[in-house]
Amino acid sequence: PSSRRFDGEKLYRLKPENEVHVGIIKDLANRIEIDFWKPGSAELVTPKSEVDIHVSASHSSLVATLLQQSGMEHEVLIADLQAAVEKQFDSKER
């Protein structure tokens, strides 16, 4: 129903181990637009926490490359946000 579409946008889970990793995340947030799902903003990121970030389709390859180079543990939780938006309406009634 929402007019804004999320095709190809991804939700990453990052697991920063140390302050270097935290710095990478904060630097990334300064360079590109990142929607923080958990915690609510880059300032709240700490080592040994789980960080869920929503990244636009156009920036996802850059983010993937940077994460690969950083050695930070990470995974893709949602590969296509638009598909997840649509799948939330999965009740039998609909």
């Binding site: 903003s41 300032e43 869920d52 939780l77 946000l81 997840a84 309406f89 009740s91």
Partner: protein
Amino acid sequence: STMTYNYEKYNTWQNIEAWMSSITAENPTLVSRSVIGTTYEGRKMHLLKLGRRSSSTKPAIFMDCGIHAREWISPAFCQWFVKEAVSTYGSDATMTSLLNNMDVYVLPVFNIDGYDYTWKRNRMWRKTRSRASSSCYGTDPNRNFDAGWCTTGASSNPCSDTYCGSKPESEVEVKAVADFIRQNRSIIKAYITIHSYSQLLLFPYSYTTALVENHSELLEVARQAAKALTSLYGTKYTSGPGATTIYPAAGGSDDWAYDLGVKYSYTFELRDTGRYGFLLPESQIRPTCQETMLAVKYIASYVQNNP
């Protein structure tokens, strides 16, 4: 009629508003409705009061849902709670005792403008829709309460998702809720706010790592409530003070309510732990609400028995 209302779907604000009207009309002895304010975009903030009518003033619990616009499972739970209250009153001993002896104020959607915006424009919107003195819209209502306002974990940048606003209670929605709780401070014994996601049951403080005076009691009640929740489907919850259990965040509603004197103040972060995040499928509304009911009823029962 609420007979055809579907609690296992996500409902638009328009549907929720009509549902509030219907459920009040259909349950006049148990449900009443008032307007506590108007949103930035002019929508009425309806508050439901659940409880058997009494000639004397009863102690009360205040519960809100939907502070953050994109957390759709939260308003779904408030609707579920009201449905359960009216349908199990008279048959469920805990609910009957609760509504005979206390009133429960339910604000089904706190951030109504934001919620409506997530349906019509941007599913991932989080804040209110007020216009800051910049090109950016919105304030995080859960950073706008007067509890360590705009210090740790909140942003003074209007474009940030955690923008604290121009001053405490700058958001009309926050002020409306704060005014209502202040005006009814003497009767409100517990404050419960429903968020998503992460499966947490939190209590003050979030704006400092200091422990509250009744920390041990709040922790034990939280653990027992979480245990009740887990008993249904095995969903694991973590309990503790916000600042040390997740992260420091100033300006939160639970901290504010606690400092006002509401000594039982809890924040739920409902399902899940990240598989779906804010996009929890509708098929999970029922189990999520069923298990959450057990925890909320445990807390309510504890408060009722420990005035």
